[in-house]
Symmetry: C2
Subunit: 310 residues, 2 copies
């Protein structure tokens, strides 16, 4: 049996601070139209798609910080994206900074949403693995203040039936953590939609810089194979406000093989016709969890947060 879903990984080139949301939405709509022409039913945009990657700056003025957040979705500025997607009958996954009001409390998350072909938001995810730091570290060439500007996501790793399959989402640094994929794998995820912004330079461990592309690919390939799922990894690329970032968007099959990838660092659409049943042979044999997993032996994974010497 085959269940095909044609997906577009819509890589974005740099989004500078001077670019308005309107500018960005125009580029997203161009992606949608190109994707439609290429037969896509679902387009995946990167993490924090609507603005420049602002956690690179130390800011203390809350109004300035909040200017990078969305207070409603869709908003006046993002509505044209929803309208065009609906007109084209295309779904999309969009990452953005979310300012939420929950029980009278303002909360800020690094969020992605899955939007069905009719324009309705059917699933929301809030980033769990926030990288970086919370305090100003002026010795860095640029900051990575996700731990300051966002709270840890409070929606788990939801998997949702949409687009004919079991769809999951995660964001950027989540992809390096096998727990991310496994929690979705245990919900029979068939396709993980994953946007990222990854600076090529990692200040605390510059010796890792040369491996950036390798680590990105390795993490997604392992997550795909070990859970028998597609992974659609979508980057921002190019030099954004002086910070070069990874690009290398790719679509990884449940075998772990990369089947499509971006060639450049600018706006670029990477398309693949994915058989959502392709993971079944992994889920039924090598990674038949019900037959082979031994959760009693995994307790340390939830009982211990940090590593301790034996």
């Amino acid at each position: 049996m085959s269940r095909f879903l044609t997906v577009g990984a819509a890589q974005m080139g740099p989004i500078q601070r001077s670019h308005s949301r309107r500018d960005v939405v125009e580029r997203l709509i161009a992606h949608l139209r190109e994707a439609k022409r290429m037969g896509c039913e679902l387009v995946v945009f990167p993490e924090l798609t609507l603005t420049t990657f602002f956690p690179r700056w130390w800011m203390t003025d809350q109004a300035e910080i909040d200017s990078f957040f969305e207070q409603e979705m869709p908003s006046n500025e993002t509505a044209p994206l929803f309208t065009e997607a609906k007109r084209l009958s295309m779904g999309f996954c969009l990452g953005y900074a979310e300012l939420a009001n929950e029980n009278g409390r303002v909360r800020r998350f690094n969020t992605s949403i899955l939007v069905e072909r009719g324009g309705q938001i059917v699933c929301k995810y809030r980033k769990v693995h926030l990288p970086g730091h919370a305090e100003h570290e002026p010795e860095r060439p640029f900051q990575h203040l996700e731990k300051r500007y966002f709270e840890v996501g409070n929606l788990g790793f939801p998997v949702f039936k949409a687009f004919g399959g079991n769809m999951g989402m995660c964001i950027c640094n989540d992809r390096r953590w096998p727990e991310t994929y496994r929690v979705m794998g245990l919900q029979n995820v068939e396709m993980v939609l994953l946007g990222y912004n990854t600076p090529l330079h990692n200040a605390p461990s510059p010796d890792h810089d040369e491996h950036s592309w390798f680590h990105n690919q390795l993490s997604m390939q392992a997550g795909a194979y070990q859970n028998g799922t597609w992974v659609v990894g979508v980057a921002k690329g190019g030099n954004e406000e002086g910070v070069p970032s990874l690009a290398d968007s790719m679509i990884v099959a449940p075998s772990g093989k990369v089947v499509a990838r971006a060639g450049g660092e600018a706006d670029e659409l990477v398309v693949h016709r994915c058989d959502l049943d392709a993971g079944q042979s992994y889920k039924r044999t090598t990674f038949n969890f019900a037959v082979h997993r031994q959760p009693d032996q995994y307790r340390l994974i939830v009982e211990r947060k940090g590593a301790l010497d034996p």
Copy 2:
């Protein structure tokens, strides 16, 4: 700081049923001597090193089955390995089928031991992820009856201070499961010693056969990177009793990069001088578990065994 440990991955060519333990131990001793000459302090042998990979056969005569198991370690037949290792002042890791008597009950495990340079066994591991099946499946070209002949290991994934570092062990199919590495990573493992026997043909999913080498490498690379640990993967290779197996022994650095690997399918020693501190930059930054992990979000990993649809 650097803490160097020179390790030899002692790949074994086929071990046929006609080969006695004495034959095999002679080959292991040849490995030890070559390893000594190349400066090794620790040699890692494959899974079930002392006999042919017997789970490929359906057997009903318990005496025949037990002929592949070790009732003591060292035994008369394996003592010369311990003696030679002690004489050379070399440690080793050895996989074998263990027949144990626990509280008056006979138990059988797929086991590996870590032996210090003085000849003492300092750590034992019993395989947790037994692959294959428990009943006769005559439609297969060969069986994979680990679930019949062995019990699931009952010693967890221990990490032990030895050879100047934190040493862990796992066996064959364990390496495909990120939980294996993570449980050891949470104990600050710095080097995982891992023997395997992997047939190139997987009867239930023959479409995976072409990816065998890729999946082997991917699993070990991801486990290494995501926990900042060395992984020493040691295979049996070649055609054993009509069944071709994987070979491709390799040593993977904490960066996830393969730094040494076997070129052939026969007895072959792969050596690398490993800096046990090489994983520190991963453990302190990207994979600083205490700072970045979110165990509350991982509960499904221990609360659910098999996958369920959302």
